[in-house]
């Protein structure tokens, strides 16, 4: 466990920018967990006398059109951001990895499966998510599901490609020639080698999930309005852009810095990968 942690940290030594990205993510996670302690105000408390205040000593990030404290809302927003990210990544991995591995090991199943993925990928990402939202309805879990389906496609494609590659590696062929069974091969040779590339993929998916969720919120089709998500804050504050520019600055900045940090971390991890796998992880899809 300690060795694993250490090897995870290696890419960040001597890369101050990537290390900063990792630091920001740790802070964000801490903010999400400790939100009730860290937030100076109740994020939903309406305070009509202090509407649209610019940043000041009492409200560091200012207040919104209902007099709610923006700092507190941004801190609570980290909770949803984390939930969406973890949710989408988990969904994409839990569905995409088995689909990819099995497709690579059983070509007949694989041909059907990958055709299906092709079909799903012929829908532009946000339209696919929007279509699913229309069917499922608005809500946090539905947003996770809708975005998760989008990234299930890329994740299974990448897993498929990686597994195919691994299967032709000399040591895997050697194991097979010595009579190792399919399950043994998966457990001993395929899965352990998938961990690092999938970690890279996970950080990119986490980043894109933030942007997709923010888009859904902004269009009024994501988290319900009573939830203080960064996207909702942008959607609600939109019409006040000229009167109170700070209103949009902080939540937008929170989204950007989160996605940016995740991309930095993903990049740092990717640069440590075996070069043969590196180029397979460019499947940016937004």
């Amino acid at each position: 466990m300690i060795a694993a942690t250490r090897s995870f940290l290696v890419p960040f030594i001597r890369r101050p920018v990537a290390a900063a990205g990792l630091g920001i993510l740790v802070c964000m996670t801490a903010a999400a967990i400790l939100a009730p302690i860290l937030a100076p105000y109740d994020p939903s408390k309406i305070e009509p006398i202090s509407r649209l205040l610019p940043p000041n000593a009492a409200h560091w990030f200012g207040t919104d059109q209902f007099g709610r404290d923006i700092l507190s809302r941004v801190i609570y927003g980290a909770r949803l951001a984390l939930l969406i990210g973890v949710g989408v990544v988990s969904f994409a991995l839990i569905t995409g990895v088995p689909a990819g591995v099995l497709s690579a090991l059983y070509p007949r199943f694989g041909r059907v499966m990958m055709r299906l993925i092709d079909v799903l990928m012929s829908f532009p990402a946000l339209l696919l998510a929007l279509g699913l939202i229309v069917i499922l309805g608005r809500g946090v879990s539905n947003a996770i599901l809708a975005i998760g389906v989008v990234y299930l496609t890329t994740t299974s494609r990448i897993t498929y490609g990686l597994t195919l590659r691994l299967r032709t590696e000399t040591y895997v062929e050697a194991a097979n020639s010595m009579g190792a069974g399919a399950l043994w091969t998966i457990r001993k040779h395929v899965l352990p080698n998938l961990v690092s590339p999938l970690l890279v993929q996970a950080s990119f998916v986490f980043a894109f999930a933030q942007l997709s969720a923010a888009s859904l919120d902004f269009l009024g089709l994501g988290a319900p309005p009573e939830i203080p998500s960064w996207g909702n804050m942008l959607a609600e504050g939109r019409i006040f852009i000229t009167r109170a520019p700070w209103l949009l600055f902080f939540p937008g900045f929170a989204i950007a810095i989160t996605a940016f940090s995740l991309n930095l971390v993903g990049d740092a991890l990717r640069d440590r990968l075996d070069p043969r796998f590196r180029n397979m992880l460019n499947g940016n899809r937004r």
Binding site: V134, I135, A256
Partner: protein
């Protein structure tokens, strides 16, 4: 040429066929009676009966699918509940805005992403390269609509140089000068995508620069600039060209949000409003049209890639 193109086209058509099944069942997956879904909740029983006969909803579902497919082939995508007009016409009304927005954005992406990526690669490792790469990654991480909102604030509200929203057709009064309405939206839309193309151009330039044949080119005594442009860039662009397929898909996704921010009367805003209005036939139509368009663009990218890379012929 022929067999490759035909093979790729056949694959695209097969994908489209499968996608059409999903799109057809979209209406049936929405909770509620598909007839009310298609006609809206305010439909009268007479209308419902008329539609049932027209669509043959008493027929088996497979038959209905082919009926729908036949209608689509004739250009009949159904009727908009909100506009009470053919979906094709509703979509066509938004097409001008969206096509122009996408085209202008593509120009930005190519004009900014590729040359700046080349410069970053040439100065690889320098502070300039690190700055450019950092900015590119930042731009790729910022939500388009956030960029859009602040562009509106700065260039429309504060400086007053450009209009903040809307887009009158270039065929109306103002003519081509109306394109200025698309300047800010296209910049907002281009930012993250140009950033991705920049990163890709840079990365593939550096990859190609390590190839043996670049060493051969240098050994010939060609000047460095010519090595970069004729040998490195020419090969690096192959990867960039193939990326234009998914860039286009990203563009469609982000255009939905951007058109909403800038209140542009395009297909993107139409789909959002149709979702809020529960105008399902329009949503279905738009999804179908975008999928067709996306597959067509990818096919084109595929075929042009083949023209650029002589090796593909064999595989």
């Amino acid at each position: 040429m022929g067999s490759y193109a035909m093979h790729r086209t056949a694959a695209a058509v097969a994908t489209l066929a499968a996608a059409s099944v999903i799109i057809f069942f979209f209406i049936h997956a929405i909770p509620g009676d598909p007839l009310y879904v298609l006609l809206g909740d305010s439909a009268t029983p007479d209308q419902v009966d008329a539609l049932r006969t027209r669509l043959g909803l008493d027929q088996p579902i497979v038959f209905q699918y082919f009926q729908w497919l036949a209608n689509v082939a004739r250009g009949d995508l159904g009727t908009s509940i909100f506009f009470q007009a053919p979906v094709t016409r509703v979509i066509r009304d938004g097409a001008e805005t969206s096509i122009l927005l996408a085209s202008i954005t593509m120009i930005w992406i190519t004009l900014i992403g590729v040359p700046v990526g080349v410069i970053a690669a040439m100065r690889h490792g320098s502070w300039l390269d690190q700055c450019l790469s950092g900015v590119a990654m930042l731009l790729a991480s910022i939500p388009t609509f956030w960029v859009g909102l602040y562009l509106i604030l700065i260039f429309a509200a504060w400086l007053g140089w450009l209009p903040s929203s809307g887009y009158p057709s270039i065929f109306e009064q103002g003519g081509l000068t109306n394109l200025r309405y698309l300047l800010l939206p296209s910049l907002a839309l281009a930012a993250p995508n140009a950033a991705l193309i920049l990163r890709l151009t840079r990365a593939s330039m550096l990859d190609v620069a390590r190839e043996d044949y670049i060493r051969t080119a240098r050994a010939k005594g060609i000047r460095p600039m010519r090595v970069i442009l004729r040998h490195i860039l020419r090969n690096a662009l192959l990867a960039v060209v193939s990326a234009f397929g998914f860039t286009f898909a990203a563009l469609i996704s982000e255009a939905v949000v951007t058109e909403t921010v800038f209140a542009l009367p395009g297909i993107g805003q139409l789909v959002v409003q149709s979702i809020l209005r529960r105008d399902y036939p329009v949503i279905q139509g738009i999804i179908l049209v975008t999928v067709v368009l996306y597959l067509a663009v990818n096919l084109l990218v595929d075929l042009s890639y083949r023209l650029l890379d002589p090796r593909v012929e064999l595989s």
